[in-house]
């Protein structure tokens, strides 16, 4: 099952590879990303970030959903990554076997219009489509929270969105 689905615009990087894989006690990392599934260079740099002994699968979002729903995935502790909230929402809506969603780092470096972006936290600065997806995600029954590194508290997405309205 998916132990954690993390939204991170850098996908796998130092914090994710070294700190989170240990925290989550996972050997199986799945990057669900349409660009990465066809971009060899990106695949190789992702592969480099994977620590010794951990395994990586890079799939487009649709194929990743098939992997998550495969009976063989049930016994695994899978750490899944997307780089947008919209992709995370698609996966949540198609994969019932999931423990939690961590919206960690997103939107700061994407190329959407800065004037339209909303700052949800220091690490979540998103365009209207992403914000809409975050709202939809926060209404799901599974825990959806924001936690950049394990020593940070888990802040529920609903709290972040409520604070935004204040």
């Amino acid at each position: 099952m998916i132990i954690q689905l993390r939204v991170d615009d850098r996908l796998i990087h130092g914090q994710v590879a070294l700190i989170w894989t240990k925290e989550l006690n996972t050997n199986n990392i799945v990057v669900a990303n349409d660009d990465a599934s066809t971009n060899k260079m990106l695949q190789m740099t992702l592969q480099m970030a994977v620590p010794t002994g951990k395994k990586l699968l890079v799939k487009n979002v649709k194929d990743a959903i098939n992997v998550f729903n495969d009976p063989r995935a049930k016994a695994m502790r899978i750490f899944a990554l997307t780089n947008t909230i919209q992709d995370a929402l698609k996966i949540v809506e198609s994969c019932p076997d999931m423990e939690s969603v961590n919206v960690a780092n997103v939107g700061r470096f994407d190329e959407s219009d800065k004037a339209e972006k909303v700052k949800v936290s220091d690490w979540i600065i998103v365009n209207p489509k992403e914000l809409h997806a975050l709202e939809a995600l926060s209404k799901k029954t599974l825990p959806v929270y924001h936690q950049v590194i394990p020593s940070n508290p888990k802040i529920p997405a609903t709290k972040l969105l409520n604070d935004l309205k204040k």
Binding site: L18, K40, M44, Q47, M48, L57, I149, S151
Partner: protein, 141 residues
């Protein structure tokens, strides 16, 4: 409890300490030693560290250069004590993170394995080509 000392020529140790905070948030039980930034004798800092170690503690000292003068001094002082202490020479950020996120008393074997896994890697275009082939074989983990 495990306690750490980062020791370097100049500010590498305090720089590494600063980088660790990005990954770990609050970094506890870590002290650092910057040798030769002034004329003071840095031995006292090493003795201070040794004296904070109780019988149940494990001390790990990271030094920047195996055989360097900082490493020599640390090694000499360590040998005066009968304590659970390891020196890891030639530290980098991966080895710091691996050690600091491991729990419990680490055995010599475990520490050596972490050091091995954290070794330097060289990348050029032909090594990238080899990685391309590895990924092809990975169907479902």
């Amino acid at each position: 409890m495990r306690k750490y000392l980062l020791a370097s020529h100049g500010k590498l140790a305090s720089g590494a300490f600063d980088s660790l905070k990005l990954f770990l948030g609050n970094v506890e039980n870590v002290d650092f030693l910057e040798a030769y930034i002034d004329n003071s004798d840095f031995s006292s800092k090493i003795y201070d560290f040794m004296n904070t170690l109780s019988d149940n503690d494990q001390g790990i000292i990271f030094t920047d250069i195996y055989g360097g003068s900082v490493n020599q001094k640390v090694t000499a002082i360590m040998s005066e004590y009968e304590k659970n202490i390891y020196i890891i020479a030639g530290f980098n950020l991966p080895v710091l993170l691996e050690i600091m996120t491991s729990t419990g008393n680490l055995s010599q074997e475990e520490i050596e394995k972490i050091a091995e896994n954290s070794k330097l890697k060289v990348i050029n275009k032909s090594s990238l080509k080899m990685m391309e082939n590895i990924d092809e074989n990975n169907d479902f983990f």
